[in-house]
C-alpha cells in the first residue's frame, strides 16, 4: 500500500461559489506533501473536508486503502489521522502538558466510573498519558515549558505544542494547517527541522503552507490550488518554474 491518503474528485460549494472544484491527489506513504495556493484557493476548506468538519458535495477520500465515508470527524484520530489548526487551538485552562495529554484522549481506556471514583485504571492511564506526552514534548525539545499555560508562552512555542498534541496519538498521517504562519525566521527554521524529525519517525505529512521557503525545502511533492481547482502538482523544482503557478501567484 503506497498511498496513505487518496483524495478523489472532491467538490464543495458554498452558495454558488465552488470553494473546492474537482480536486484529486494522493499522499504517498512516508511522503511530505505540501498544499499551496493564494488566499481563498480552498486549501483549508479541503483540509476541513478531509477531517470531516465540513461535508463534501461529491468525491471520495480513502485513508490507507479504506474509504472514510462512514467515519465521523471524531473517529478519524483512531484511524491514525491527526491535525493542527491554522489559528492556534490550545485550551487556555490546561497547561502545556495537559494540552498534549488531550491528544492522547482516545488512547486511554479508562471509563467514567474509573474517573469518578479515581480507580487504579484511571490512574494507570493518567500516568501513561503523562509519560507519553512528556516524551513527545522532549522529542520536540519543548519539555521545559510543560507546566506553563498557553497564554504564558511565545507564539512559536504554541505552534510546537499544537504539533506535539497532534503527535501524541501516534498518527500515521499528520495534517499541518499553516504551521509557519506568524513565525519569525529562526522559528521557521526550527519548525523545518521539527517537520523532518517527525517525518524520520515514519509519519507521512500533508501541510498547507504559505511560506515558499519552507515548502520548497521540506516537501517531496507540491500540489498547487487556485480558485478551488488544482492547477499543478509535482516536485518543488517543477512547481517553481511552472507558468500556471506563476500566473496564480503574480498575475500575468
Amino acid at each position: 500500500m503506497d498511498k496513505i491518503i487518496s483524495i478523489d474528485s472532491i467538490t464543495k460549494s458554498f452558495g454558488g461559489i465552488k470553494a473546492v472544484d474537482n480536486v484529486s491527489f494522493f499522499v504517498k506513504n512516508g511522503e511530505i506533501k505540501a498544499l499551496i495556493g493564494p488566499n481563498g484557493a480552498g486549501k483549508t476548506t479541503l483540509f476541513n473536508i478531509i477531517t470531516k468538519l465540513y461535508t463534501k458535495d461529491s468525491g471520495s477520500i480513502s485513508f490507507m486503502g479504506n474509504s472514510i465515508e462512514k467515519y465521523k470527524s471524531y473517529e478519524l484520530i483512531k484511524l491514525g489521522m491527526s491535525r493542527t489548526f491554522q489559528n492556534i487551538q490550545l485550551i487556555n485552562d490546561l497547561n502545556v502538558l495537559e494540552n498534549v495529554m488531550l491528544g492522547y484522549h482516545i488512547n486511554m481506556k479508562s471509563n467514567v466510573l474509573d474517573a469518578f471514583l479515581s480507580l487504579p485504571k484511571n490512574k494507570k492511564y493518567e500516568k501513561e498519558a503523562e509519560k507519553t506526552s512528556y516524551y513527545i514534548l522532549r522529542f520536540l525539545k519543548i519539555d521545559n515549558i510543560e507546566k506553563k499555560y498557553p497564554n504564558e508562552i511565545p507564539f512559536g512555542y504554541k505552534r510546537l505544542v499544537e504539533i506535539a498534541r497532534a503527535l501524541v496519538s501516534k498518527p500515521k498521517l499528520l495534517l499541518l494547517d499553516e504551521p509557519a504562519a506568524g513565525l519569525n525566521e529562526s522559528e521557521t527554521n526550527r519548525l523545518l527541522k521539527t517537520i523532518f524529525r517527525i517525518w524520520e519517525q515514519g509519519v507521512s505529512i500533508l501541510l498547507i503552507e504559505h511560506d515558499m521557503n519552507l515548502v520548497m525545502n521540506c516537501s517531496h511533492s507540491v500540489v498547487v490550488m487556485d480558485e478551488g481547482r488544482k492547477i499543478a502538482e509535482g516536485p518543488p523544482s517543477y512547481i517553481q518554474n511552472n507558468d500556471e503557478v506563476k500566473r496564480a501567484y503574480f498575475g500575468k
Partner: protein, 305 residues
Amino acid sequence: MSQKIFLLILFVVIMVFGFFVKNPFILNMMSLAALSVIVVTGLNLLLGFAGQISLGHAGFVAMGAYISAVFSVKFNINPWVAIVLAVFITSLFGAVIGYPTLKLKSHYLAMATLAIGEIIHSVVNNYVDLTGGPQGLTGIPMLSFFGFSFDSEIKFYIFVWTLTFLLILMSINLVNSRFGRAYKAIKSKENAAYAFGINVHFYKVFIFTVSVFYASLAGALYAFYLGFISPSSFGLIQSIDYVVMVVIGGMGSFFGVFFTSVILTILPNILTSLEDYWPIANGLLLILAMMFMPNGLKGLFKWIK
C-alpha cells in the same frame, strides 16, 4: 495545597461546626445549604466545565422531589427505594430530553432549558391529583436507616454533608481525568475537540445527565427532609439562583461555588424581613459580579491546585 486535602479540611470544619452548634435553626439552614451545594456542584460541571447552560435545573430538583415523594406518599414505597427510583427516572429523563436539546448552543440552549424547567413546574402545579398542586404535598415520611431514624437536625446534617462531600470529591476526580480535559476542550474550542477524538454531542448529553442526577438527588432528599414540598420552591427564580451561584462562585471553581451556594442559601433565611428585596439584591449581585469579577471567587482559590 491539593484540592482533595482542602476538601478534607473543609469536611472536618463542617462536621466540627455541626457538633458544636446546638441551635436547630442553624443546623437546618446548613442542611438546606448542603442540598444547594449538591445542585450547584452538578450545575458547575455542566456550566463551569463543559460550558453548557441550563436555566431549568430547579425543574429537575422538582422532579427528584415530587417523584420520590409521590412514590412514598401515594404508593407507600420505601423512601430509599423511592429516592433511587426518582433519581433514576429523572436522570433518564434528563438524558432523553438532553439529547435533542444539547444540539442547541448558547442563547437557544438557555431558552430551551428554561422552557423545560417551566414545563416541569407547570406539570407539578397542575397535576393536582398526584402532586397536590399549588397547595403542596404533605405527609412525606422521615428517612430512617435500618431503624436509625433521621429524627434530629444533627443526624440529617451529618448524613447530608457527608454525601455532599462525596459528590464534590467525585466531581473533582472527574475533572482531573481525561474527561475533565475533554470538557475543557468542548467549552473553549468545540471544533478542535472533534479532532482529539471527542464525540462532542455525546459528552454534552452525558455531563447534562450527571448534573440532572445531582439535582434530582438533592430534590429527593429535600422532600424527605422537610416532609412537605410545594411548586413555589422549584420555579424559574430558583433555576436562576443556581446559575448565579455558579457564576459568582467562579465557573469551574469547586470551592468558589461551594462557599457561594452556602452563603446565598443562608443569607435569605437570615434576612427574612428583607425577603421581598432578595430578588433585587440577587440580580444586582449578578450584574456587579459580571462587571467587576467575571471570574467570580475563582481567584480566591487559585492556591488550591
